[in-house]
Symmetry: C3
């Protein structure tokens, strides 16, 4: 692939304008509605309603007295007052203004100021969407045939039971969710942006780290592979030893999952916290806003041990705040001063400054933008499919409804490498080369 | 009346879109301009100009050296500088920029940088409106034939001299004034919204209160009566005694007066502060903003004593701030957390969440919305009348220019009740049933 | 000149709407682009980029490793990330996202993630503008033929070496730059607005001041003279002595220079700080924003000594903050309370309240608006010239590229006065009448 400039014709430009839209009347919004989306954490739903904007629609979630979760339009059908201030009653969510009460399917079940025999209730139907709770998250389906929604596509990592899962939400961004996803599938940026500041490897980790890993993007193998669930970026770096490669894979699953830091082979199990797997997903609020849900699965380990050590890698998010690891210069009056050295912040600065909705028609894509180009082709094809009445691209689910997004990071023998949509080199725990306490490579 | 759904045709929808407009070029704005409107308190006008937006027009009020009040366009006719920063001089309001000076009728009386014999002054006329001062309020008339405005329509309560009048302004809301007025004429909401939290009756008041008043809306008589000044809501509740009814009336007078808490019969005069009468009026700033002027007339009394006692009923407004009487839950992150139990705040939350201008075309009105429906019919007819060159609906004034908006709250013998536009059961002080110190009902 | 009302025809109204525009596609913006504009101070450019919006275009300035200043589009040609967060490298400004690097002429000189032999670089060109550094200021040219820009037009005062130059920037206003320039060329306003509060002359200065200067605008000579560089306002006031006139001149130079407080004759050199000359220029950010650069040239002197003494005349800007010299009244709740007595603040209040872009079509210009009318004619003619392919009005430069904007303030013998574009009465240091220590007038 040389450039995708050839795609810059008018039909592609029309797609680029449709691409970031999320609302109900749009081609991209229609496609997104074929998937389940995260709404909030199960723990967020207590004894008051929880207002939530999803794909440009203003909704309210609530947990009924029976424990079931409802998700209905936030604006009362009667006189538009907000159901965010409604009360949860035995028979549903009761608007505080005149008492109209809705069940989880949007049916009006009470109008307490109307005559008891009034039949008007049956003529009112509030917008509603089916929900599921799984893995501590409330999910919703906003697509066609909502009485019979497709099965929830469960991402593998949230189905795991072999570690402690940390699940966080609340990082809301004021720009298009696609700025985030395009950044994620564009793996090349890591070798510029995230190497602006190169932190030293702590002395006690030096024996376990292969510091000969070649970080020059021009000398590594870089492939983006389409999968059933979305796409996967694969990077194969050389080391000083021709029989040892360093492999890193990242997966993006529809509609908005991102998975990195998969199984690590390269450090002894007892000496690494890369028994830590991370990623997240986006709640798409509307064209110009999204919220990040992040998860980290932690399995026992007693040392810091990523290949690129960070000052604090407990924070995959922005727990440290909007401050990099560099010192602020007195003359640095930019919105994000001294921002370098904290990868999530580095990404934020790039994503945000691209514009709320970037002017993609003015871009100049090149060969290293292969991930971005593939994501757009995937979106475009699914948008066309949905517009033509076909179904959107679908995950392959196992008997439990789980789909695999295998990722891997670590040292590998060259003959173990087969670049393809599945198991490259493997998603089985620990497979690959690691170093023992004496620094020798062994296969695990 | 079953439903007003039949009115939901296209002509009604066109009305609904015109309804909340207030500007000079609109049908609704033209109708509103047939009435006098409150501008500010007399006490607000001291030795500097007072900028005020009225019905979408930016104006400035000032008290001249002669004590007379002027109300003219805020933007100087010369080069658009704001007369909010003008100086009050003997001959009028002098723009600080180049000294152009305007009298209270908008005539330019000085251009100090022009030759003394220049005739240009006579070609300049600033927008201006007639004003009156009455009852501590500055009023203006912005309608046709402003050289000969109609007489000021004086609301009865402000003409009273038998108590202490508390007059407050400053509560500015960022949504349509009609959200407020529709809430006021929709009396049914009180029996849901304002009963979300039911405060206990203090022990010392128990003997004087009839706690058998039946608050179920379905069992009371609810009428909305059109009057010369606007409309009146009447509610007749049953009590345990078939010979005793509890009556409550509320009046809305054109263009934006609201009157509640009228004479109370039900507690002995010496033991009640419902010798307190309240209400207010709106300064309509523009389509999306208004300011509440509130008044309370207090006559001597030594106990709290409303039928529905409140934690503090000295505050009809929001003097307590935006906090209800309930405790804030740690997970309540709504804009208005723990909002229940303070009626003005409860109303604010409903009014504000309906939207700056509610999407009335998506409403579903039912029989208990009879007040809202009548207010809209009144507005619609007056808008049609004014558009056809006829006058808007007018108050009946007495010799002093005062109109009556009689309201009543208290216990009544059934044969005293005649539901109609006037004196139901009476607006005379104290008429109705009260309880003596022994808790016995007597006619006063 | 009686009035300019005759100009208020449709073609003039079309001009008024074009007049405040600054963007690249506009007639007025095209005209402004024929001049050099201030970007920032030389001292602002250190080791990080400096984002700057100029005439509606978002740019970034940076000082390269070689010391040369680049000014290029802020949005990276690749994927729109902001170059405000780029890094300054030996070969240019390197985008932090994927490393694309631009030289000062906008050429892409590196794409580190592309194959080393890729020819794509040559197809990318970032917007760029030529810059010059002179007198502590970075200037740019954004007009046609930018490979061969016209010579920088250097304003005389910044070329001076006979005093201490104080240069400040940072006063950003949120309204059209023309509100400021029209205020400056409208000299009449000084005799109303800036005399709202008349400070007393300190006792020790009384012998040196001619307090008989007649401040009545109707009795002075007021001329506005077009010059090569722009225009000059001249005022000749009477004094009690028919052989002594007080002259004050103010110059406005294209595109946005303002010069006042020129040489003062009237106080002995050793007793005046009017050996202080001031003025400034505007960075035109876009139609609705500008930044003021102010300069003051100070030569030795040991007393305050302006004709209209101020509480503090060290502050030509708003160093004292947004507070006048009057006391704030408790009932003054205007945005700018107690604003009178500080001329820059007085001007700000008038300029800002005219509106972000004033509604010039509703104005009523009169004879004293001669400066405003001339500025508009100048703009209009230059806009027409540029639209017709001719060059804009140009400064006459000397061998050093400097143009003279002579201003003068002081007492003059009537036969010294010749009102014209140059040297009236003179720009030579000290020429005019001054008073000696005994208060006698002598020619210097």
């Amino acid at each position: 692939m040389a450039t995708v400039a050839a795609e810059q014709n008018e039909s592609y430009r029309a797609f680029l304008r449709e691409f970031p839209k999320t609302g109900p009347g749009t081609r991209a919004g229609a496609m997104l509605r074929h998937y389940w989306h995260p709404v909030c954490l199960s723990a967020d739903l207590k004894d008051i309603p929880y207002a939530v904007r999803m794909l440009g629609e203003d909704l309210v979630a609530y947990r009924g007295i029976d424990g079931k979760v409802g998700l209905i339009g936030v604006q009362c059908a009667h006189r538009c007052a907000s159901l965010e201030y409604a009360h949860i009653k035995a028979n549903g969510l009761q608007c505080s203004y005149h008492g109209w009460t809705y069940d989880t399917r949007g049916r009006c079940v009470d109008m307490p100021l109307e005559p008891a025999d009034s039949k008007l209730k049956s003529r009112v139907r509030q917008p509603w969407y089916p929900t599921e709770e799984w893995a501590g998250v409330v999910w919703c389906y906003m697509g066609p045939d909502k009485e019979n929604p497709p099965p929830l596509h469960k991402i593998d990592i949230l189905a795991r039971a072999d570690g402690e899962m940390i699940l966080q939400r609340g990082d809301v961004r004021n720009y298009s969710y696609l700025n985030f996803l395009e950044n994620f599938v564009d793996i090349g940026h890591s070798y510029v942006l995230h190497l602006l500041v190169q932190p030293p490897v702590p002395a006690e980790l030096v024996p376990y780290c292969d510091q000969t890993v070649d970080l020059d993007f021009r000398r590594m193998v870089h492939k983006v592979v389409e999968t059933d669930f979305g796409l996967k970026s694969v990077l194969v770096h050389n080391t000083a030893d021709p029989n040892v490669k360093y492999v890193n894979t990242w997966s993006m699953a529809l509609p908005s999952h991102f998975r990195f830091c998969g199984l690590t082979a390269g450090l002894p199990p007892d000496f690494t916290n890369d028994r830590r797997e991370g990623g997240g997903m986006l709640r798409i609020i509307d064209d110009e806003h999204f919220e990040i849900f992040r998860y980290t699965l932690i399995r026992p380990g007693n040392f810091r041990g990523t290949i690129f050590p960070r000052v604090s890698d407990t924070a995959r998010g922005l727990a440290e705040g909007l401050q990099g690891v560099t010192e602020r210069k007195p003359h640095d009056n930019r919105k994000y001063a001294a921002w370098e050295g904290r990868p999530p912040l580095e990404d934020l600065v790039m994503q945000e400054t691209q514009g709320v909705i970037p002017d993609r028609e003015s871009e100049f894509l090149v060969s290293s933008d292969v991930g971005v180009a593939m994501l757009r082709r995937m979106w475009r094809k699914s948008m066309d499919d949905v517009a033509a009445g076909r179904r959107a691209k679908a995950h392959v689910l196992d008997n439990e409804g789980v789909f695999e997004t295998d990722t891997f990071k670590g040292l590998v023998a060259p003959d173990q490498i087969t670049i393809g949509p599945r198991n490259m080199p493997s998603s089985k725990d620990g497979r690959g080369l690691i170093r023992d306490r004496d620094g020798r490579l062994v296969f695990a």
